[in-house]
Amino acid sequence: MLRQLRHDVWATDQLIARCRQLTTEQLQLSVPGTYGTVLRTLQHVVSSDEGYLIRLLGVRLHEQLFRHEPDAGLDEIAAHLPHVADAVERLFAAGDLDGDRLIRDTPARRPDQPRSEMNAWAPVAQFVHHGNDHRAQIATTLSAHGIEPPDLQVWPYAMELGAVREAKDT
């Protein structure tokens, strides 16, 4: 699970790096059936990642919450990814995660929001699903406008780490 989450952070980082090569106008592209513009979708991915991790860790990742901010720029979004990466490592620092642990609340809850209880596996699985879902929407938007999206599969990530490599006969 830790590796799955690390891949998720890597994929978002790769996508941000690709987006740095785009123009301001290209960052505002979207297609029907997706969440919104490239930039808004990226912000939604990273701010949601922080939200899941705040719930899982029970502490804020930094003083000011990074909530839904439609005007956030790429630099601001990118600046939050290290918080996500660090929180993922902290989550697993004590060993395997107990998926059945009951989380009773989140420090990110607004006073007017109802409290939700959930087992730890749910926000972890949702973290992976959610990032993947919205990165795929951005890839669709880029492709639909003739822009080659980066390859965010596990294969290139694993190759980068040497976890997929040419087999040597033994």
Binding site: M118, N132, A136, A139, R165, E166, A167
Partner: protein, 145 residues
């Protein structure tokens, strides 16, 4: 796929710019890929080989997907994530069970998003397939989207 079974057959040929292909083609690719991942993991071919260009019914795909899914869960529960696997009948690159399982999750997620994008862009409200929705369907969570 359960949701898509309720649609008019012609909707399965719907497409959206920038995605893998038609709604049907995407679902078939998703199941076919998982069939291949499970074969990599276990050496067993589950169900008849799904080949690109062939057209199965959704019921056929769902039947194969259910058997594949059960096997995936069994592998995830019992196999060693660090076990080495050499792809392509021992002639290809070396990888591990954990990498293949991670790719399996990524791949399905990516193409399901393309399927929901096709539905949404053609005016059909897609089903909720998030982990939240799974928790609600399983009766173990009350979280919203």
């Amino acid at each position: 796929m359960d949701f898509c079974r309720t649609l008019d057959e012609a909707r399965l040929d719907d497409q959206a710019r920038g995605t893998y292909g038609s709604l049907y083609g995407t679902l078939q690719h998703l199941v076919g890929a998982e069939q291949w991942y499970v074969q990599l993991l276990t050496s067993d071919l589950i169900g008849a080989r799904i080949r690109r260009g062939e057209r199965h019914t959704l019921d056929e795909l769902m039947s194969i997907a259910a058997a594949i899914g059960a096997r995936e869960l069994a592998v995830a529960a019992s196999d060693d994530p660090d076990r080495q696997i050499v792809m392509d009948d021992g002639k290809g690159p070396r990888t591990t069970v954990g990498v293949i399982l991670a790719q399996l999750v990524h791949h399905g997620n990516e193409h399901r998003t393309q399927a929901t994008t096709i539905l949404g862009s053609n005016g059909v409200e897609p089903p909720a397939v998030s982990a939240w929705a799974y928790g609600r369907a399983a009766g173990i969570s009350e979280t919203g989207e």
